[in-house]
Amino acid sequence: MNEMTAEAAVKPHPRTSKSAPTGKTAVTLSEHIVEIVSDSGEGAQRCGQSLAAIAARMGNGVWTVEIIPAEIRPPARSVAGGSGNRIRLGSGRVTNGGNETDLVIAFNEQVLLGRVRNGELKANCTILLESMWRESTDKSIAATYVQTHDQLVAAGYKVIETPMERECRTIVADARRGKNMFALGMLCNIYSFDLQIAREQIARTFGKKDASVIESNVKLLNAGYDWAEKNLEFKYRIPATRSTEPQIVTDGNTALALGVLASGMEICAMYPITPATSVSHYLSSVFEKVGGIVHQAEDEIAACTFAIGASYAGKCAVTVTSGPGYSLKQEAIGLAVMGEIPLVVINVQRGGPSTGQPTKVHQGDLMTAIFGSHGDAPKVVMAPGTIEDCFYSVVTARKIAETFNMVVVILSDASLASSQQPFTRPQFSEAWLAPPVDQSEVPEGGKPYDWNPTTGLARRFIPGQPGGMHTLTGLAHDDQSHVAYDPDTNESSIRARSHKLAALQKTLATPPIFGDEKGDLLVIGWGSTKGAIEEAVTHLRAKGHKVSSLHLTFLQPMAPGIEEIMRRFKKVITIEGNWSDDPNDEIIDPSNRRYSALAILLRSRYLIDVDCWSEVRGQPIKPSTIERIVLEKLKPREAQS
């Protein structure tokens, strides 16, 4: 038994506590994109997350993107099996994953090839490549390694063969379980990060484990740091911008779960589905501490109807899912619409249709969120654009759900789900919690759907409330909740449910324009593309282009004032992560071109010729791509290819 305490394990190392460069000058950068990629299970994700946390503690801007294989244990050394993390480090606030990668640490050449083939690396990217494969006793592995290595060098990458395995073996018997911390040490050296902060981060990460675990990881960290100091010829420094406020560093799914806590909701019913499940994982570990319950139902339909039951009984509930699960919930969502039961549905979108791309980012569910469920089923649809939004959107969604007795759908996506970005620590407000449900006795003649003729709003009676007894039904019903077969009642009740959207719309603020109020081109986006769009717009404006952007948080209803904004620009285009036909494709002409979801909505609502550009590569859209597209669209029509 090691007597050493966790604190002792992370005590400053006398030799390396100061990270002053010895002989090397650190090149100052405003930003850098680094990734670490390994076989699944080799800890590259943990290394990446730790690096991001250390950078954030240093005061740097950070955006991380997980590199996730679709399988739990993909075959070792496979091109599609790479697992890891991509971290964009910046001097200021970082709002998106950025463009191509500047520096990679790869534990084998095959997972690296996967990244190369996806076009994720910058042309002259620096690659720190595990060199053990060169000496592999398996001749074919050694040959593949050498061949790939030579190809990468020939292609212009700066490949630095790194003996991570050999170095780690001097410290631990099983290098597979420690190489990630060695890599972390190298990165701390490369980016001139403070080793003491790194050690504290390790203590935090392995806090629950034996002090000896922390000690050996710290040893590996130090070794990686020293190796890089001795053997690498370069070193960077990204000046940190101090934050004066406490910052929260989490991914979007954790932020959604924190939002559930903060909203005061007490019941979350779910069924496991990628990439939404981690919301429930985190929530399951903490919800009970504030009196909440995560119910893992037998299926998606049961998860939704369970939540509806809880909401009906007076405790507004949330159900969390992704595309396929959302499709299954549609009928139940229609029931909540019909019964006017408040409900929050979180859809962390993934690729579709069908099973699609479970771990990849797509924005393909906007139409199904707005128009899904048979008949006219008006519901509120909102989409967070940042990690911070993920948190607040749940609080807002619950408020709207209970104020308007409506279903509120939150569309997050696989990119927000696993990306991390620091945001200002929220200050809890009692106003976040819904006021207690009115349980007072219903006076004689009280109607369960006493629709306001203008707004469609009605007070809701919940079980336990004396005098409010009625049977809620999914059948068409009158204001007494009696089944209604007559045409007038059917139409007037549909009107009431529809008008609630209009009433909500009246309360929404016009979204702010990013950039000038008028110009040549307006980019409109929604969801996780916000940061990339705004970064591209910033660059374009710096080059003198009259480009602005607009981010829509509310997709249904849409805030007032959007049409007026659009009319002040010569051209309007949406940029989205869902399918749209390329007008230049041979078979496509104006009569058959399919537009992106938001473009369709804007065109139909405002009768403005909104253009669109989209990609469905399952990767976050890069700011440089958006820049290229906007420049293309800015050209006069005849000059466009």
Binding site: I248, I293, I308, G309, Y312, R425, T471
Partner: protein, 330 residues
């Protein structure tokens, strides 16, 4: 649980309820439909147990029998096809103080909602589930249901249904955590009432299959059993069904059955002739999911704030963290 004191006060002023306090509207079921008998028994139960109408919820799915909540002057939830059970579970989890009843048909429970049926038994939440089993789809006009006897001629099986009928009791008794299983028939109201009352008093999910006549689509299917009382078997045990001497004279086929004996219960469940009536299985010790999950707490804003702040702490980087570690410029 701060609610208890108020609850007691309210109870002191509780008024005694009459049958009409639970009756709402005139049922639109066909004359001779077994649902009428079930409704009468349930209204009587509510009166006898003096259930507060505002604290009582009837949940149903879709089908003839799922109209049930509309005819109760309590809270009701007439939802979507097959999903009565998960809705009821959500209600019970949110509000364990409510009396929750579920009315579901053979199509609703054993076909489209079969997954929920299995899992509801496993959750064992404290509610009374009545399976109105008339062995046919009624509202959609005569299609075979999973419980239709093989050979049933219907609009989707004009040459007779192909498969053996699913047995709801054997299925239910095969699921882990089953705690109360009984069977009743609509044409012996006295026993029907008694069984529903025993089911209501059981803490946990009580599953009552009620064999029910459909005069419209399967008019004479139970006629042989109604004509010959010996083809009905009453299950008795100490403290079990109250069988009047008159009834005993008519239904002479009886078995003393220990409802804690699940193996014998499963054998009885598979009997189709005679039809067993009574409590097949009863285990009062199976834990209820809502209690395992500690449902029903009331929470203050402060309680939530403390919990949330503790979580924020896990993810917070305080400004001084960064302060002390700003690098000297190179």
């Amino acid at each position: 649980m701060t609610g208890h004191a108020t609850e007691c006060l309210l109870r002191m002023f509780d008024q005694h309820h009459e049958l009409e306090d639970y009756q709402s509207g005139v049922p639109r079921w066909c004359t001779g439909c077994g649902d009428n008998a079930i409704l009468a028994a349930v209204q009587r139960l509510c009166r006898d147990e003096d259930l507060r109408p505002e604290k009582t919820v009837f949940v149903s799915g879709i089908g003839c029998s799922s109209r049930f909540p509309h005819y109760m002057k309590t809270y009701g939830f007439h939802g979507i096809h097959g999903r009565a059970l998960p809705v009821a579970e959500g209600i019970k989890m949110a509000r364990p103080d409510l009396n929750v009843f579920v009315n579901t048909g053979d199509g609703d429970c054993c076909s489209i909602g079969a997954a929920h049926w299995i899992h509801a038994i496993r959750y064992n939440m404290n509610m009374t589930v009545m399976l109105h089993d008339n062995q046919i789809y009624g509202l959609t006009k005569k299609q075979a249901s999973p419980t239709s006897p093989r050979g049933t001629k219907s609009n989707t099986t004009p040459r007779g249904s192909y498969l053996e009928a699913l047995q709801p009791l054997t299925v239910t008794l095969g699921v882990q955590n089953v705690s109360f299983v009984a069977q009743a028939v609509d044409w012996i109201p006295e026993v029907l009432y008694d069984i529903i009352a025993k089911a209501y008093r059981h803490k946990g999910l009580s599953f009552v299959r009620i064999i029910q006549r459909c005069p419209e689509w399967l008019p004479n299917v139970f006629e042989p059993w109604m004509q010959d009382p010996l083809r009905t078997m009453l299950l008795t045990h100490e403290g079990g069904l109250t069988i009047s001497p008159n009834l005993s004279k008519i239904y002479k086929t009886q078995e003393r059955h220990d409802p804690s004996n699940i193996n014998r219960a499963r054998e009885i469940a598979s009997l189709q002739d005679p039809i067993p009536i009574g409590i097949l299985y009863h285990n009062p010790d199976v834990p209820c999911y809502e209690e395992l999950r500690d449902a029903g707490h009331r929470r203050s804003a402060r309680y939530i704030k403390v919990g949330l702040d503790a979580e924020f702490d896990k993810f917070t980087i305080w400004p001084q963290d960064a302060d002390s570690n700003i690098q000297p410029s190179a």
